[in-house]
């Protein structure tokens, strides 16, 4: 009997340890994402320094008119389908220059990370709530 109890206690302790380790991992991974957000301006500074432009096939209407000599009709009609609030990962009305664009880029990174994580978290909760196996898990825990 005593043996059985200590075994189950061990098991609980092991589970608690595992949970603590998982929480630590989650925290470490979030810190990693945070560091990436702070470093993100490298994604505009280095290309700028090396004279690299935008991505292939992602030109604005003005750019494509310059490159190919004409503005495709359909593209002209569709290019402004959507007006994004933070176009080019910049804070609207931010001042020019590398410092401001870097700071704006970090703000965009933080907002984007939060929005993406929030959307994903919402989707996950929606998917899990309907899940029979997770209900089963809750009952088993009780």
């Amino acid at each position: 009997m005593r043996n059985y109890e200590s075994k189950s206690e061990n098991k609980i302790m092991r589970n608690e340890n595992r949970d603590r380790k998982k929480n630590l991992t989650v925290r470490k991974l979030w810190i990693g994402v945070g560091i990436l957000a702070l470093l993100s301006p490298l994604g505009i500074i280095i290309p700028n320094y090396l004279g690299a432009g935008g991505a292939w096939g992602e030109w604005t209407l003005e750019q494509i008119t310059k490159i190919s000599g004409f503005a495709p009709e359909g593209m002209k009609r569709m290019a402004d389908t959507w007006k994004a609030p933070m176009t080019n990962y910049a804070v609207p009305g931010q001042a020019a220059g590398p410092v401001h664009s870097s700071l704006g880029y970090i703000v965009a990174a933080i907002i984007g990370i939060s929005a993406t994580a929030g959307l994903m978290y919402l989707l996950t909760r929606l998917l899990v709530r309907k899940d029979g196996s997770s209900k089963h898990n809750q009952q088993a825990r009780r």
Binding site: L50, G57, E73, M86
Partner: protein, 222 residues
Amino acid sequence: MHIPDGYLGPATYAAMYAVTIPFWAVASWKLNRTLKAKQAPYLAIGAAFAFVIMMFNIPIIGGTTGHATGATLIAILLGPWAAVIAVSAAIIIQALLFGDGGITAIGANCFNMAVVGALVGYGVYRLIAARSGVASRRRVAAGAIAAYVSLNVSALLTGIELGLQPMLERSASGQPLYAPYPLSVAVPALALEHLLLFGIVEAAITALVIRYIQKNDPDMLG
């Protein structure tokens, strides 16, 4: 690789939505059956990682830029269907909030980078990793190769979708209505830059993170 609005004609972008939605449905169905509440934080981190890694534009000196997507890495760590949804979430936020990739092109961009990125990446990884140990070097190599192959398949598809436009959509006078470059220009342009540079960066990131996970939380690779 984020196709903007105006580059794909209605026939193409509608078709790409039609192709992508069933994958979203299957992914939701799979997750609905297997997902546990305690996995939610990992999925949120995965999606956030995909978002931020794509902000790191990698330059070709005097040329264009590109980026990694993290799709293969996320598929290896969280499963291919979770990765389909996570990378799609990042792409949707990029389009809605930052104008990176078009609204009409969300179907195409999610197919290229999220669906193909995650499923091809995961398939190649499993094929090469086979029954190798969780802590083995082979897992790292499998991740790197899978990431390289997957990003290049994504780029190739993007090139094909753009390159088809001048054939599919022309004005009465014969001018292209949308993306103006033919397959013979669009495919080599997108394929080469990813074969030579961006794919290698994707492979390196994937290998580094797998190595880190092997040392710190090998359960995630189980």
